[in-house]
């Protein structure tokens, strides 16, 4: 088993050691690992379980409860489209359709080059200037179909 991406397993050990004495430390640990590695690999789950004196099943139960945590490598850019009511009232249902056909993927999938993944999200708190999308941690407002393509091509350019 290997944790690829950017860091060796020792970083995961360090993260767990630095956070495990906090009250209710599991979510901070999961966030820190996912931020560092991109996902929480089965081996990381085992290490967390040992160090927190819990079982891997318990850790898995927590990971699987939250939409944000993942156990496999993510796409380089995670696109989330807000499909909550305020964005719907400003055209997000049409944007969803366009985004899926533009990227040629459905929700919860990633493009074959692993550049983009597409997910839904229920409210990004930008409800007066929707439709909204988020790419990794960056929020974009007033997203028309054209602007969606433009934002993606800007991001894509940065990638190259």
């Amino acid at each position: 088993m290997k944790i690829e991406f950017s860091s060796p397993l020792s970083n995961v050990e360090n993260i767990i050691d630095s956070l495990k004495n906090k009250e209710g430390s599991l979510l901070p640990i999961l966030h820190a690992i996912q931020k560092e590695v991109g996902y929480i690999a089965p081996q990381a789950i085992e290490r967390i379980a040992i160090k927190l004196k819990q079982t891997p099943a318990e850790i898995h139960g927590v990971i699987s409860f939250y939409h944000q945590f993942r156990t496999s490598p993510p796409a380089k850019y995670k696109i989330q489209i807000c499909r909550a009511e305020a964005c719907q009232s400003r055209g997000s249902r049409q944007l969803e359709v366009h985004a899926k056909s533009f990227l040629n993927i459905d929700y919860h999938q990633m493009t074959s080059d692993k550049k983009f993944s597409l997910d839904s999200v229920y409210c990004l708190g930008n409800c007066a200037t929707g439709p909204n999308i988020r790419i990794n941690d960056d929020l974009y407002g007033r997203i028309s179909n054209e602007k969606f393509e433009q934002v993606l091509s800007n991001v894509d350019r940065e990638l190259k």
């Binding site: 979510l27 009511e85 229920y122 708190g125 930008n126 941690d137």
Partner: protein
């Protein structure tokens, strides 16, 4: 003389290009040898004008918006040609004096008095505008005196449940325990709401001050802000503000030299709507799945790690510094009936002028729409307005005269909640909205109660059958029964309130469910 320009670092402004605009101003100034200071302030909450920039003048701040980086050159020309010579600006994006903008002038800003005015992480700015006065006064009071002041202010939980804040504080104060906690619920997940985020991004010290006062009032020395991870800018600003407050002695082991201690930490959620429910939130803070708990025991008695805990919404805690510095009466004088003080309404969805509107309780929804919205963004007529988030009713045009007051809304089987107002034009299909409410419940239910977990899936199926005209009348009866089951058989608001938007959709918009309307009933 140094020219001062304010450009928000708040997330809506940033989502519309505020960072690029700031960079363009810096670039312009360095190429034209202008002594320019850019202050990254919060937002005034006039979102249709974002990114809105302001320039400081002898008369007050002058605003321009919405500004794109391509406008910077012409705006700088307007500033140097006109404003610098005390002539009125003539740029097409010029808005005049910010304080004179009608949308702001018509509001009663108590909680949002400093939003957009100050640099959110400048302690000096905060102190210059009454910051930490409420804390200083509270330090001179007994714990009971603080709790009594909050009771007398009439403040009720701004998260949506509207439980009297002072009563909750009294319960925690009176509980006997070595360890107590203050938990700030910043898991603002309701569609159409952003007031919590604005507090955290525009005036974080106010929230920190409110939390410290809560700690003093009940004898808690540890606080957590449970922040949704969808708000990374709020996280960054809160972390900066907490660090500054620690260094300046407002947090830590000896608050303002009083010998009292309070520590505060931000904890991130992980994209689970249900964690906005207070007991699910506590489970999540403890490092578990965000499953709703049975009540009793109340969190006030057995909350975080089983200890007495105040769980308050951001807006409730943000109201505390005003109440403690100006007095209960100053807050209590606003409002109507049992809804006292102000509520920061959030006008969103299909409107021209969306934003933050802080008003005393009591005016009607119709007035708010007329005074602030500027009409729909699409220029089509309004068909429905959803108030109070995804678990709130869709109101038809003939119900817009309801006063904005907790009791008046619940009498109308509607929800005022956190004050989110989402406007839909006549292109909306209410059957699809009802289906979406059920779908949302499928995705976000914690799964503890069967009526919520399975009922919502059944709800989607039944609505699809109604849509496809499969035994429509029988399925309508089934849908109505299902709503009853969810209401009666769910522990928390997720399952028991999902039927509210669903029922309002078919009761008030029967035509979208292919049902006879009231008029045709008389035929």
């Amino acid at each position: 003389m140094t020219m001062k320009i304010f450009i928000p670092r708040e997330s809506t402004a940033v989502s519309l290009g505020a960072h690029d605009v700031a960079q363009a101003f810096t670039h312009y100034a360095s190429h034209h040898d202008i002594d320019l200071k850019i202050i990254r302030n919060g937002s005034r909450g006039l979102f249709w004008l974002e990114p809105m920039i302001e320039i400081e003048t002898a008369q007050g701040r002058m605003a321009y918006g919405p500004v794109a980086s391509s406008d910077v050159e012409s705006i700088m020309a307007d500033i140097t040609d006109n404003i610098c010579h005390e002539k009125p600006p003539c740029h097409t994006l010029a808005l005049g004096l910010t304080e004179e903008i009608g949308y702001l002038k018509k509001q009663t800003r108590l909680t949002f008095a400093r939003a957009g005015i100050i640099d959110p992480v400048s302690l000096d700015d905060y102190l210059a505008l009454d910051g930490f006065k409420g804390l200083q006064k509270s330090l001179a009071l007994s714990t009971q005196e603080i709790v009594t002041a909050v009771v007398e202010s009439g403040l009720r939980g701004r998260g949506g449940a509207a439980f009297p804040t002072g009563i909750k504080w009294q319960t925690v104060r009176d509980a006997v325990a070595e360890q107590k906690y203050i938990v700030c619920n910043a898991d603002e997940g309701d569609s159409g709401t952003f007031a919590d985020k604005l507090v955290m991004e525009c005036d974080p010290f106010m929230l920190i001050e409110g939390i410290i006062i809560a700690g003093l009032a009940v004898g808690a020395n540890q606080g957590y802000i449970y922040l949704r991870s969808e708000y990374p800018i709020a996280d960054e600003i809160l972390q900066q503000a907490i660090k500054i407050a620690n260094e300046a002695g407002y947090l830590g082991d000896n608050i303002c030299g009083s010998g009292k201690s309070f520590n505060l930490e931000v904890r991130l959620g992980a994209e689970a709507y249900i964690c906005g429910e207070e007991t699910a939130l506590l489970e999540s803070l403890e490092g578990k799945r965000g499953m709703v708990r049975f009540k009793p025991p109340l969190p006030a008695l057995e909350g975080l790690f089983g200890k007495p805990t105040i769980v308050n919404n951001v807006l409730s805690l943000a109201a505390i510094p005003f109440i403690m510095s100006q007095g209960s009466q100053a807050y209590q004088q606003y409002g109507t009936n049992r809804s006292r003080g102000t509520l920061p309404f959030q006008l969103a969805g299909n409107v021209k002028q969306g934003g933050l509107i802080e008003l005393p309780f009591g005016s009607s929804l119709q007035d708010l729409i007329d005074d602030f919205s500027g009409g729909t963004a699409s220029d089509r007529p309004i068909k429905a307005i959803q108030v109070g988030g995804p678990l709130g009713a869709y109101l038809p045009l003939n119900k817009l005269d309801i006063p904005l007051d907790y009791e008046a809304f619940s009498q109308a089987s509607a929800v005022l909640g956190h004050g989110g107002i989402v406007v839909f034009d006549d292109s909306v299909d209410m059957l699809e909205q009802a289906r979406f409410s059920m779908e949302f419940c499928v995705v976000e239910s914690c799964g503890k109660c069967t009526p919520c977990r399975i009922g919502s899936t059944r709800g989607v199926e039944v609505i699809d059958r109604i849509k496809n005209n499969e035994r429509r009348a029988e399925n309508m009866t089934l849908l109505n029964d299902l709503c009853d089951t969810m209401i009666d058989g769910s522990l928390c608001a997720m399952g028991s309130m999902t039927p509210i938007p669903v029922r309002s959709a078919y009761n008030d918009f029967p035509q979208d469910f292919y049902l006879p309307t009231q008029e045709s009933n008389h035929d």
